[in-house]
């Protein structure tokens, strides 16, 4: 006995779309982490330029949060763990969520 093959491709496509949905890593402002430290973490962990790291750091500081990276779920989850290692307040969510 085999499963009817005509329904399989459709469900695989749905799963693939789920896997392809990008996730975002948000860093939230707090009054403890030093601006210099946050910039340093963005530069050393993500390899961002000084300009980009400083811009993201200021966004966190002034707007309360910033999208610091975007990618596949697994990558973003690993980056969140790294940010928590540094003591930054980071969360992740699907890119299409508010």
């Amino acid at each position: 006995m085999t499963a009817p093959t005509d329904v399989l491709p459709r469900s695989e496509t749905t799963e693939q779309q789920e896997l392809d949905t990008p996730y975002v890593l948000l860093v939230w402002n707090d009054p403890v982490n030093l601006m210099s430290y946050v910039s340093y973490v963005f530069r050393s962990h993500f390899g961002y330029s000084e300009t980009k790291a400083d811009q993201l750091m200021l966004e966190v500081h002034q707007q309360g949060r910033s999208v610091v990276s975007t990618g596949a779920l697994e990558q973003v989850e690993a980056d969140v763990a790294a940010m928590h290692g540094y003591g930054l307040w980071a969360t992740f969510q699907r890119a299409d969520q508010g």
Binding site: L26, N33, S39, V80, A81, Y86, T91, F92, Q93
Partner: protein, 194 residues
């Protein structure tokens, strides 16, 4: 009196006197203790379950009663990873929290050990780890000081004279400001070397 971190051919160096080293060592050890799991799931004198150890998982995080920390300082060190979704946060916590605790405790213990010597000299990797340990100490002190807003930060940063300190909060604020100063000098040295 402490001398600030600077970038030198010998690495990232600073000097601390014996009182400062004693103070910092105590703080690193306290935060490491705060992060240490209460028990390893095994009865006293019993080895942890080898099957769990073999698959690299922690039975505590898979127990039915596993939950986010209740101590706000511990929660600040191990925050929820998904905003507004307790179930997703808890699931992430099950998979990552043990490793995160171990990593933080490792950095804090290395930092405590570095307090054996008055002359600190770190390579870039060790300096990065020392910065993490200083930051975790600051997060815990800030929580104990109820530091929530930029205004609180401003108020606390004005406590700089040891001679005028006359209660526990002012003493904690003074300690917080010292650790902040030391971390800031390390960050300037590290940023200058990137």
């Amino acid at each position: 009196m402490a001398r600030a971190f600077k970038s030198t051919p010998r690495g990232f160096t600073a000097r601390l006197d014996s009182t400062e080293r004693e103070l910092l060592r105590g703080l690193f050890e306290d935060v490491a203790t705060l992060l240490a799991p209460e028990d390893d799931g095994a009865a006293p004198g019993e080895e942890p379950d080898p099957l769990w150890a073999m698959v690299g998982m922690d039975p505590r995080t898979h127990a039915a009663e596993f939950a986010a920390p209740t101590d706000p300082a511990e929660l600040r060190l191990l925050p929820d990873a998904v905003q507004g979704d307790q179930d997703a946060s808890l699931e992430y916590r099950r998979l990552t929290e043990t490793t995160l605790r171990e990593r933080k405790i490792g950095a804090l213990k290395a930092a405590a050990l570095a307090m054996e010597s008055s002359a600190l000299a770190f390579d870039a990797a060790a300096a990065n780890q020392f910065a993490q340990a200083l930051n975790d100490v600051r997060l815990v002190l800030a929580e104990r000081l109820d530091l929530r807003t930029e205004d609180d930060a401003e108020r606390i940063s004005s406590v700089i004279d040891a001679a005028t300190v006359d209660d526990v909060d002012e003493y904690l604020a003074l300690v917080y400001n010292f650790v902040t100063w030391l971390q800031e000098t390390l960050m300037q040295a590290l940023l200058g070397s990137l």
